[in-house]
């Protein structure tokens, strides 16, 4: 288990009947890396992620997440990763503290540990004053950072962010990326999916999926050079069109 990689995927494939949703994708993500997983709607992104987080069994190929096998140890994977999406995150009608306690409980943390984590999250995000407020009353930016912190309440090695920042204020988006930088700086791996190409440029490396295959994988800088493009948007258009 002593490898420099948080994610290792080799020829991972998912078929639905005759249809190949994910076609032999291969890549590795280093520990502490911010990795962007991009693709157009219908490119196979969601199916691939489902395999990576232990929700769907691959038809062929191998995948290791935090050292666990996606095929044979999906339950261990679920315990050792964090997951946050825009669609599913916090309970609006619970308070900040209740949300933290609830997720701590779901992940089976001890009472003592939940207490520690609660204080830690409240202090780090400067939410102590609003700890007893309902989540629904918080500004969007705070909610997002709280959801992110809670997705890591069990100290996972990797955290998956599924389209975390759709359509929000450009300032809020930047605050959120700063939080991501902070987390990666501490050695945690961050795996982000997004279809906002400008966001892709915040990642250390990105992969671009087209029709079930990974068609490009490199740093944003190198991809722009390779495709003679000025932005990731252009890179994406050249690949996907």
């Amino acid at each position: 288990m002593n490898t420099p990689f948080a994610i290792e995927v080799d020829k991972l494939t998912k078929r639905f009947g005759d249809f190949i949703a994910v076609n032999a994708i291969t890549f590795k993500v280093k520990k502490g890396e911010i990795f962007g997983f991009l693709g157009a709607n219908g490119a196979g992104k969601t199916t691939a992620i489902k395999m990576l987080i232990g929700l769907s069994k691959p038809t062929e190929g191998m995948g290791k997440i935090a050292g666990f096998n996606v095929d044979t140890e999906p339950e261990k994977i679920k315990k050792n990763i964090g997951y946050m999406s825009q669609k599913f995150s916090l309970y609006d009608d619970l308070t900040v503290v209740e949300n933290i306690q609830f997720y701590g409980g779901i992940y089976g943390l001890s009472r003592k540990k939940i207490k520690e984590k609660t204080t830690e999250i409240l202090e780090e995000l400067e939410l102590t004053e609003v700890s007893k407020s309902l989540v629904i009353s918080l500004p969007l930016g705070w909610k997002q950072r709280l959801a992110f912190a809670i997705s890591m309440v069990h100290d996972p090695e990797i955290v998956f962010l599924d389209e975390p920042t759709g359509g929000v204020d450009p300032r809020v988006r930047r605050q959120f990326w700063e939080t991501i930088y902070q987390v990666a700086e501490k050695g945690r791996t961050v795996f982000v999916t997004t279809h906002y190409m400008d966001e892709a440029e915040y990642c250390d490396r990105v992969s671009i999926m087209v029709a079930g295959k990974i068609e490009a994988l490199d740093t944003p800088h190198n991809l722009k050079q390779q495709f003679e493009a000025t932005s990731m948007d252009e890179v994406f258009l050249k690949l996907a069109r």
Partner: protein, 303 residues
């Protein structure tokens, strides 16, 4: 005659000021963008102008008709694509289209010319139920339905939100074509990069218009010294720059940082300074602002 005029429109929901004294005009055949984040008041303004909601104060006209007194006239002359997909999910593509043509007292054949370029892209699936379409196809169908009665003014509320990059580009190409047919278009978007595709834009935040101009003019009027800086240690550099005396603001922009200084400098001076400070491989260059830089410069901090 202007296609849209808005004068001092204000709207409150309880204590929340959704629109605060908003004024602007949109000319005939103009593509006008309302650019701002969620909660800026964009959709409220659309509802007022399409006569679905009454303003508390102020007045406006659409296609020459006052929005309150002649709302029935306006409804015949505008096309409206709301933010949320609002076609009939259990009707097919062609059924939706013929439904909207019928309620406006026209036929698909009569105005086919206007929608042809867009419709041919979804025509192969015309028997498919609208609820079963992909995001990009739904959006094309919604645009067809909003156009089928040949409106004078088109209202598009966040038409590209949640749509992938390829479909977004196609959509803006379609808008450019519609413009040439003399239709005025008011379009809203939270994507700052789409702003440059409009003739003029209004930057809007918290119900207030911060600035109105053509995107090109906004960019050339920006006078602050702006640098794009690249380093392998982006996060450490961000924290360093944030506390320097010469920094007015510094924000991450993808793999680079955008720095506004409070006095003019040469890019080479910045590079040199950072090298001395221990960022050995940094590059700095003077850049023109994007609309996003401008928005971030004049908008209020969030929290």
């Amino acid at each position: 005659m202007d296609a849209i005029t808005v004068e001092h429109i204000t709207k409150k929901y309880g204590d929340v000021l959704a629109l605060n004294d908003v004024s602007f005009t949109v000319g005939k055949g103009e593509l006008f963008g309302l650019i701002g984040p969620d909660g800026a008041g964009k959709s409220t303004l659309f509802r007022i102008l399409t006569t679905l909601l009454l303003a508390d104060k102020g007045k406006g006209t659409v296609a020459g008709h006052p929005i309150v007194n002649e709302y029935k006239e306006i409804r015949k002359k505008v096309g409206y694509m709301p933010g949320r997909f609002s076609l009939y999910q259990d009707l097919s593509i062609e059924e939706n289209l013929s439904f909207f043509a019928t309620i406006f007292g026209t036929t698909v054949e009569d105005n086919y010319d206007l929608i042809k370029d867009i419709y041919v892209q979804i025509e192969p699936f015309k028997k498919r139920l609208a609820g079963k379409l992909s995001g990009g196809m739904k959006q094309k169908l919604a645009l067809c339905c909003a156009l089928i009665h040949k409106p004078e003014v088109l209202f598009l509320d966040e038409p590209t939100t949640g749509v992938d990059a390829v479909s977004r580009v196609e959509f803006w190409d379609m808008l450019k074509k519609l413009k040439t047919k003399g239709i005025a278009i008011l379009v809203s978007t939270p994507y700052m990069d789409e702003a440059t595709l409009c003739d003029r834009i209004a930057l809007i935040q918290n119900g207030e218009i911060l600035k109105i101009d053509s995107p090109q003019q906004m960019i050339s009027n920006f006078e602050k010294p702006l640098f794009s800086i690249n380093s392998t240690e982006t996060y450490r550099l961000l924290n360093y720059l944030r506390v320097q005396n010469f920094t007015e603001s510094v924000l991450p922009f993808g793999e680079n940082l955008h720095l506004i200084t409070n006095e003019p400098y040469e890019a080479s001076q910045i590079e040199y300074h950072l090298k001395i400070a221990g960022f050995s491989d940094n590059t700095a260059k003077t850049i023109q602002p994007t609309v996003e830089d401008i928005f971030l410069d004049i908008s209020q901090p969030v929290n």
